[in-house]
Amino acid sequence: MQKGKSLLVSMMGAVVLHLPQGVLEPEIPKQNPLTPAKVELGRRLYFDKRLSADGTVSCATCHDPLKGFADGRPVAVGIKNQAGARNSPTALYTGFNEVQFWDGRAPTLEEQAKQPLVNPVEMGQPSHAVVVKAVAVLPEYGDGFNAAFGARDVTIERIADAIASFERTLAPFTSPFDRFLGGDKQAISESAQRGFALFQGKARCVTCHEFNASFPYFTDNKFHNIGVAMKGNFEELARQAQSVAGKGAVTQQSELAHKPGFEALGRWIVTRQPKDIGAFKTSGLRDIALTAPYMHDGSQKTLEEVMDFYNKGGEPNPNLDGGIRPLNLTKEEIADVIAFLQSLSDDNGGTNFDWEQLKELSRKTRAGEIVAAPAP
């Protein structure tokens, strides 16, 4: 892999991410420039369960470094063992997405970070004000906020900014496939190489799971109905859609997204456009082998199941994306594509973050050995 810019701290205190040659920089909101102090603060908040209503759930609960920054469950489980309705996406590489959540209802990482805090089935706080208070009373964070924001005051914006900053560094680029792209033709198996060719050809994956040198994350950031949500009755879903007409506020979107039955509406919850019923955001595929089960509801347990689903042409329904159709891949071809997908798993955190350290933090906070990452 060509050496890009290394993680360095310039005179102005900015963080520059290590990206492979030709990869576009992520879009970082102007009001939240990336600094080491914010990354550090964000890391500590990320593992701190005291941000949740009953002190049992942190960001790392569902986005666990030990589990590919997902949680290995079909759907997320929040406080009081409440199950949500959506599968936890990995936090790896999310800094490069155009929008966050399966239905794209958050335009930035900052906006995303705010929602689980107050979602009743996730971290369950009654309001952001309560979250702010919960952090403000913790003396160990004062210095962190000061270093990051120039003042000790805690606000929800700053909490979100810090968490988002930490998440932006979760970009390893240390997979065998990355080495293959860098010129090492032995880095992935021949089967995986055939799989890569199929991915761009007969298997028709690349058109939605966009990959090119500028944007190597395997998602077009668009929303497609491939039929996963369509096991139920489409008419019933449409009826439900009508009954929530008018409920456009962000908090309500967040709740609908986790409400059994309604969550299947997908992108429609945000846009209210008929063609978006049952459409969900194309998932990125880096580290996909680490983040089973698959799809927005975790209904597909293995990559084999996923491939069979696509090979048969998804699930027919009135809104099925016209790009989905039976693929007629042979068993060998499917195995090749799966081998390719497996080559997308990162070995370690690379130079942008220390994955081992985060795994250790996760172990310790889960075991109750520490309550949160210690201050530097």
Partner: protein, 382 residues
């Protein structure tokens, strides 16, 4: 209502604020503005859910002027171009998809028009498959013939299966006329072309040796007689495969005796032509006649390099990755005032509405619709 385009997510908050403002203004908005805006999640249950998938029920009856109140609705399925290549062939699946969508309409349309080109090569197998699919449509189906149905055997099988191609009927105060407007002068007898050669020649849209479609003198005479019995104030709706005006001759988006046909229709105060063949949204108005194109279920044609009627709001270019993009079916709603509202139900896109208000508003409406489309879209070429 023209196409709706979602602003980029980064502008979502602006969009939400604007939507809120729009919702506030709702009671004072003119009918045209209301229908031009996107299908919003309007709170009021009395608001028609325009743009909702037709396979759900629609709340109808918007409070509106009696003039433009809807009287009845018909649906259309058209240009299915069925090939006999196994039931999984996408043309067959698309035709079935349209039939399913029409069947899911609630309330059901009064009847369904089939717009012609049921078969691709006029073969009996193709026509039979098509007929089988149309038999699954719950509402009554009225058939119209296209050139792909006709020129293998000069309409013999069509007549046997579906009856005479030219006929008229009355429905709820509207006089409907169905024409066979794909008559071309004989160029196959002399060179002794075989039936399939003739069919293939007619099937090629860009055939440089093609002859123009006509209605022909016999049918024009028939039309004169048929209309002689109709009161001049009765709304007329003409179903025709070719457009009954002149758009682009090289692709036979053309009826050579269009002026003469229009002349016969001239004395009537409200006339609408619903035509097929062009596989794209098209809107035109010539004197007293409004012309609306219909969608194909099989594939979209690009817009022609010249001759596009100025009232047309073009659909954005289809994506070939999506086998149904640019295709679909639609509805025609006859209004109290005799005019029609046209809806194009494009698959994988939001429906495109062309109302009588839009048409009577003239070019200004097109400019407004085009201005709504900000940002990067793939326009049809030329």
């Amino acid at each position: 209502m023209a196409r709706y385009v979602l602003p980029k997510e980064r502008e979502r908050q602006e969009y939400e604020a604007e939507r809120e403002r729009w919702l506030q203004k709702l009671p004072q908005m003119s009918r045209r503005d209301f229908f031009r805006t996107a299908a919003q999640a309007a709170a009021a249950a009395t608001v028609a859910w325009k743009g909702f998938p037709p396979h759900s029920f629609q709340l109808i009856n918007v409070a509106e002027a009696k003039q433009a109140a809807p009287k009845f609705t018909i649906a259309y399925i058209s240009d299915s171009h069925i090939l006999d290549k196994g039931m999984n062939h996408r043309f067959i699946r698309a035709c079935q998809k349209a039939a399913q969508d029409v069947n899911a309409l609630d309330p059901q349309p009064d009847f369904v028009l089939f717009g012609g080109d049921l078969a691709q090569l006029g073969k009996p197998e193709e026509l039979t498959i098509g007929q089988g699919i149309l038999k699954t449509v719950k509402a009554p189906v009225r058939m119209m013939v296209g050139e792909h149905d006709w020129y293998l055997d000069m309409g013999e099988k069509w007549r046997e299966m579906f009856g005479e191609p030219t006929y008229s009927f009355d429905h709820k105060g509207v006089h409907f006329v169905v024409l066979n407007s794909v008559i071309v002068s004989d160029y196959w007898t002399e060179p002794k072309m075989t039936p399939i050669q003739r069919m293939l020649a007619m099937a090629q849209l860009d055939n440089p040796n093609g002859r123009p479609f006509t209605v022909g003198e016999a049918q024009r005479e028939w039309l004169k007689k048929d209309l002689a019995k109709v009161d001049k104030k009765t709304p007329i709706i003409v179903f025709s495969h070719s457009p009954l005006y002149k758009y682009y001759r090289p692709w036979n988006f053309w009826t050579d005796d269009a002026e003469q046909v229009q002349q016969i229709l001239a004395p009537f105060s409200t006339v609408t032509v619903i035509h097929a063949h062009t596989h794209q949204p098209l809107t035109n108005r010539i004197k007293n006649i409004t012309f609306h194109g219909v969608l194909s279920t099989a594939w979209p044609w690009p817009y022609a390099p010249k001759g596009l009627p100025p009232l047309t709001v073009q659909m954005v270019r289809a994506d070939p990755f999506n086998q149904f993009d640019g295709c679909g079916w639609g509805t025609v709603t006859a209004l109290e005032n005799g005019q029609v509202n046209k809806r194009y139900n494009l698959w994988d896109r939001n429906p495109l509405d062309v109302t009588w208000d839009d048409v009577s508003g003239g070019k200004k409406w097109v400019e407004q619709a085009d201005a709504q489309l900000k940002g990067n879209v793939s326009w049809p070429s030329y």
